[in-house]
Amino acid sequence: MARAISLLSRILRQGEGATLSGKVLLALRPRAISELTRGRRIVLVSGTNGKTSTSSMLAAMLGEKFLVGGNRTGANLDTGIAASLVSAKKCTLLIFEVDELYLPSMMEETAPELILLLNLSRDQLHRTQEVRIVARKWHEALARFPDTPVVIDASDPFLASVGRDHRPMTRMSFGKRSHLDAASCPTCGAMLDWSGAQFACQKCGLGDIPADVELGEMSAVERNHALAGYVAQYFGVQDLTKYSPRDRISTLLLGGIEIALRLVKNPSSWQEGLSSLTDEPVILVVNARGVDGLDTSWLWDVDFTPLKRRYVVITGDRKLDAAYRVHVDGIGYSLVESLSSAAMQIHRDGFTRAQALTSYTAFIDATTRVKGKR
């Protein structure tokens, strides 16, 4: 049946077909994920940022030893996971990146061998509501899987809280890193003490458990690379020297220039994106459709001053929100109607390359164009 669905999906020409076959499969067999994963080796990867890039780094590392399957394109709801199972019959290990809200149910469905949690911060506030609610749901979910090994970045107070009483737990730490949502303790609500070498809760003791692996401060992609590396070693891949940290960056040729597209979707990934800019012109593409988060207030939680004295072009459905935001930070910009017009303008001004920070839907639009038209 799975093959029939896959064929159907291809006939319907769903471009990437990332979720359609999954929708059909789940409609016909609601327990398909559970049925198709039973008895197989499964790793689940979740977190607010870096799920897709970390899963693909991990897939590359584990590809040495296993025939690795899973959802590699960012379709991380149940439908995307089901779709990836349609063609994963021969795979010996499945790595699934899972949306934060779907993690508990996907744990139930797949009974994973290991869970990797990357980070947790405010994201799509209209949908996930409060990050504390997500943390509480994760904590409850882990309690139902007391023997499942979990690997976390314990420098994130929310993950430290999620994993506070889980036994098979590997805590990796990456120095002290401030957190927009963690003025107060994710576990007990008391104010966190950030004055020491690491956060600490004087009331409930969050942060007291020493890390199993202590690494220094590094960028988000390097942290995720290190976390993936640990998981790869867990599965017996020892030599990781040939794998380097990779971000979710796609290159697009458009309007005569080459654009490096970087997916940014919440304050922490925007800040990370802004801190890793090169000298090339910058295009901001800001949408607020469903998965992007309908509320654009977060623009004001991001420090845009790294854009100062740069060539900045803004587009996307909510370009005016973004434009006013950067204007108040004293940054000059031009507004254009589309990514293509941004490229043409930059080309006209004599540049051959640009970098774009793009909302989720804009990133998918642009990268689908790469696959579809070239």
Binding site: E130, V131, G189, S297, Y324
Partner: protein, 245 residues
């Protein structure tokens, strides 16, 4: 000229929805008119400054909201006296609820508010999330914003900021749309459920607050049109034209 002081109360607790933007916009719109302005961030473990001109309370998660109200109890006298001498208080969402008699806690329990206004907030059956369009008699064009709250607020006879044209506002869908209102206006207190941040999306509202402190404002200079363009685009996206004035 002394700089206009904009005080952000507990930014580490009540800043979940880009609330800091309200302070940035106020300071920006003052400065472009030649009025020096400074933003003072007052975390919960520091005393509230007594010299502020505009005090801002933002939105936040349940526990942060409770931590904030606990910290503010000891500053109640300060807050009262600064308002008496003409300072303005602009409160959004959780900040609005804090000012009242009570609001719902983490599991629906009743938390005592600051009691500065006779309003009561109760938990609703679900969260109200989405774009909002509000007609206020203070302004010729409707205001826009984004709301995301579970609490429902009864104004206890106070004047609202305006009438809800699209969205939930204080009462949500339990109240007929033609009777739905948002926010409140009481003396030097102005409060709303509108995030966005509200003052970025509604420059008239920012200017209203500024003018209550510094008097009549000159027009913003050239180069500031983007604020009005954004406000207009949001109003159009919400179909403001369909509602007349």
């Amino acid at each position: 000229m002394n700089a206009l002081q904009i005080v952000v109360i507990h930014p580490e607790l009540l800043g979940t929805y880009g609330d800091i933007g309200n302070a940035r916009v106020l300071a920006h719109r003052a400065r472009v008119r030649g009025i020096p302005a400074e933003i003072i961030f007052t975390p919960h473990n520091q005393p509230l400054p007594t010299t502020g001109d505009i005090y801002l309370l933002g939105g936040g998660e349940d526990r942060a909201q409770i931590a904030s109200v606990e910290a503010l109890r000891s500053s109640l006298v300060v807050l009262g006296s600064v308002l008496d001498r003409g300072a303005q208080l602009f409160a959004v969402c959780a900040g609005l609820q804090i000012l009242g008699e009570s609001f719902p806690g983490v599991s629906g329990e009743i938390i005592a508010g600051l009691g500065m206004v006779p309003i009561v907030s109760l938990p609703g059956s679900d969260r109200i999330v989405g774009e909002v369009l509000v007609h206020s008699d203070l302004f010729p064009e409707p205001l826009t914003g984004f709301e995301n709250h579970r609490g429902r607020t009864d104004l206890g006879g106070l004047s609202p900021l305006g009438r809800v044209l699209v969205g939930g506002g204080n009462g949500g869908e339990a109240i007929a749309i033609n009777e739905r209102v948002d926010g409140l206006v009481a003396g030097n207190i102005l409060a709303t459920y509108l995030h966005g941040p509200a003052l970025a999306r509604n420059p008239v509202l920012a200017d209203h607050l500024l003018s209550r402190v510094v008097g009549a404002l000159p027009k913003v200079p050239e180069g500031e049109e983007i604020a009005e363009l954004l406000a207009l685009e949001r109003r159009r996206a919400l179909g403001a034209a369909n509602f007349g004035k």
